[in-house]
């Protein structure tokens, strides 16, 4: 039975799970010029400048709904790119802001989004220094797409390929809250949970030098991002179920809608690999920002990502598959 849809891009290719990862790999193969740049498969690319490293990244934001509890597309467009620089060990220098807007988009909403962008820019102390705006005919675009690119400087680069056997895996706080906030409109529920979207610069300035690998678990959640660290570092990672900090609401939503909790995204947290001798001071510093910063696993020899269940059994954690769909059974 033929599958003609393999000829077209589908939503799963952008979902942050296994298929997305495959697509990005395929697309990278088309790009033949690299000259001088490194870490081309990391959260940001690196250009060594002697003592310092120039770090450069970009991201597009298509979140729906545009406004959600705890933030909006503007906020995550700024924080997302700042964080991609920060998790590489870079201090962000400036961002670009490109917006493609659908004809008919309310001007008031656009200004609201700009206010959020400015607010995050001030909180993180990172300027928006250049940008572009385009408008497309009504119906040719769904409301708005925001793309931000950022540059930063880093003395020491934290690579996703740097996790070492014997390292401990930590989280900077509660996981999955962004998704809980985001889905509330789509699945018609109320909750006190707000998006965790925020810049991570302060935390990473405090502990960055101790981190061997670091990622913010955004699209694809904990599962996809820890899998990437494990894959790039060529190690096995075991997470401890009883230590994973998910709030009761996050658990409830996952059960209620039947969506895998490990695919829930966070926009203001990071997961990292740390040497055991540094883990106590690192957690100590991080707890000042979020009480639930914690050790959640460890790195071993081998490959793959596993969960040690509350019963002591070991089961594999798969990369998220498919779109988030609720189930009845």
């Amino acid at each position: 039975m033929k599958n003609p849809t393999d000829l077209t891009i589908d939503l799963e290719d952008g979902g942050g799970g296994y298929k997305s990862w495959l697509l990005i790999r395929q697309l990278r193969k088309f790009l033949s010029v690299k000259t001088g740049w490194q870490h081309l498969e990391d959260d940001a690319a690196v250009y060594p400048l002697g003592k310092d490293n120039l770090v450069f990244t970009t991201d597009a934001f298509i979140v729906d709904p545009l406004f959600f509890p705890g933030g909006d597309i503007g906020k995550i467009a700024v924080c997302g790119t700042i964080n991609d620089l920060a998790v590489m060990g870079a201090k962000p220098l400036g961002l670009s802001l490109s917006m493609v807007i659908e004809e008919g988009f309310p001007r008031g909403d656009l200004f609201k989004i700009m206010k959020s962008i400015d607010q995050m820019s001030r909180v993180a102390r990172v300027p928006i220094v250049t940008g572009d705006t385009k408008v497309m005919d009504k119906g040719k675009l769904d409301k708005i797409i925001i793309t931000t690119a950022g540059i930063g400087l880093a003395e020491k680069i934290i690579s996703n390929a740097g996790a070492q056997v014997g390292d401990l895996i930590i989280t900077s706080g509660d996981l999955g809250e962004h998704t809980v906030a985001l889905l509330s409109k789509r699945f018609a529920y109320k909750t006190r949970i707000k998006s965790d979207s925020r810049p991570l610069c302060q935390e990473l300035e405090a502990v960055g030098k101790y981190l061997h690998a670091c990622k913010d678990p955004t699209r694809g959640g904990l599962a996809a991002n820890i899998a990437e660290i494990a894959d790039k570092s060529k190690v096995k990672i075991i997470l401890e179920e009883k230590h994973l900090p998910y709030k009761k609401e996050t658990n409830a939503l996952s059960e209620l809608l039947g969506i895998d909790i490990f695919s829930f995204a966070s926009e203001g947290r990071f997961i990292a690999a740390v040497a055991p001798r540094h883990v106590k001071p690192v957690i100590g510093k991080l707890k000042k920002f979020n009480r639930r910063a914690n050790i959640i696993g460890r790195v071993e020899k081998g490959r793959g990502v596993f969960l040690r269940t509350e019963l002591g059994g070991l089961r594999p954690i798969e990369m998220p598959r498919g779109k988030l769909i609720p189930r009845i059974c």
Partner: protein, 352 residues
């Protein structure tokens, strides 16, 4: 609190072990609800049980037992341009013409909904909308409610109990006792199960529920009893939910049901009755549907789902399992459904 729980769990496991020793022989218990299969994997229950107590999976996943013919018909309808709404579970089940999800990618109007009320809302803008009604006694009342409110439905709803009867009559697998489905029982109550001459315990879905359910079954076997016990007291009342049952039979009539793996099971299907004929998609769109011809050879031969849901085979015995067939590229519904035996085995198998 957790220490207390662990102590009580230890106590139950001790009792289970004592009963298992007393029984001596191999005992095969069948769970017939996908949510139980999931709980058993999630809580590692198999690993906790003594070696002579075996758990086998039955046909309790409504996605898994939906006949391929019905999948093909609804996909056929979607591809013919009729908007289709369904619960998320069934979207990726591959039929001969592909799945609903694939139809959607190729332009068909396919919508995923959480509740029939979402479908009713959708119908306001899409008057031709057809709801793919699938599920057992627990889910049929919701569809009935929506039919009364005007929704057009393609029904593949089934009554669960006849499948348990069929399993026993077919005698392919030795079943010493059933872990009865908690939410079907919430609707049908306790009495209907009494005609099955085998130990049964209606069980809830927490780890403790399942362990107590297994304990009670072993106790029945050790004492030579064959009864229907109710462990899920908090949800299952002796007479179930009469209002829900009344609603089902205002709208549906009992017919032969078409089950994957079992073929026709008499009096196990729910078809929309004549009063609501105009909302029966099988009638309303019969001119489109009659163009569809289902042939035996169109069935996916290599897939062993049909045997797996009858408890005849473990997923690991299927040559496709884990190789050609996995949750990314599923061959059959047992791998698509997150409560399917194959999907659960693949995701939860202990790699330690």
């Amino acid at each position: 609190m957790n220490k207390m729980r662990d102590k009580r769990k230890e106590k139950i496991l001790k009792e289970i072990n004592l009963l298992a020793v007393k029984l001596g022989r191999e005992v095969k218990l069948m769970e017939v609800c996908g949510s139980h299969t999931q709980a058993i994997w999630r809580y590692g229950i198999r690993g906790l049980l003594p070696a002579n107590v075996k758990l086998t999976t039955g046909p309790g996943c409504p996605v898994c037992v939906t006949a391929q013919e019905d999948i093909d018909l609804i996909v056929f309808l979607a591809r013919a341009g009729i908007p289709v709404a369904s619960y998320g579970d069934v979207l990726r089940v591959p039929g001969y013409y592909g799945s609903l999800e694939e139809a959607k990618k190729e332009g068909a109007k396919v919508f995923t909904i959480y509740s029939v009320e979402d479908a009713l809302t959708l119908k306001k803008t899409l008057p031709d909308l057809v709801f793919f009604g699938l599920g057992f006694d627990t889910t049929a009342p919701m569809t009935a409610y929506a039919i009364k409110k005007g929704l057009t439905v393609f029904s593949t709803h089934k009554l669960f109990l006849p499948a348990m009867t069929a399993l026993l009559e077919m005698g392919e697998v030795k079943i010493d006792g059933f872990i009865n489905p908690g939410h079907v029982s919430t609707i049908i109550g306790i009495a209907p199960y009494k005609k099955l001459k085998v130990p049964q315990v209606i069980t809830g879905f927490t780890e403790e529920d399942v362990l107590v359910g297994i304990y009670l079954l072993l106790k029945q076997l050790a004492e030579g009893r064959s009864e229907v016990e109710n462990e899920y007291l908090r949800s299952v009342k002796p007479d179930g939910n009469p209002a829900a049952r009344k609603l089902i039979f205002e709208v549906f009539k009992i017919t032969d049901g078409l089950w994957r793996g079992f073929g026709k099971i008499p009096a196990s299907g729910l078809a929309i009755n004549s009063k609501y004929k105009n909302q029966d998609a099988r009638y309303k769109y019969k001119n489109i549907l009659k163009k569809f011809v289902f042939k035996e050879h169109q069935q996916m031969k290599a897939c062993r789902c049909s045997e797996i849901i009858r408890g005849l085979s473990r997923p690991t015995a299927c040559p496709l399992f884990g190789r050609a067939c996995n949750p990314d590229k599923p061959f059959g519904p047992c791998m698509v459904s997150v409560e399917g035996a194959c999907n659960l085995e693949y995701r939860f198998q202990d790699k330690s």
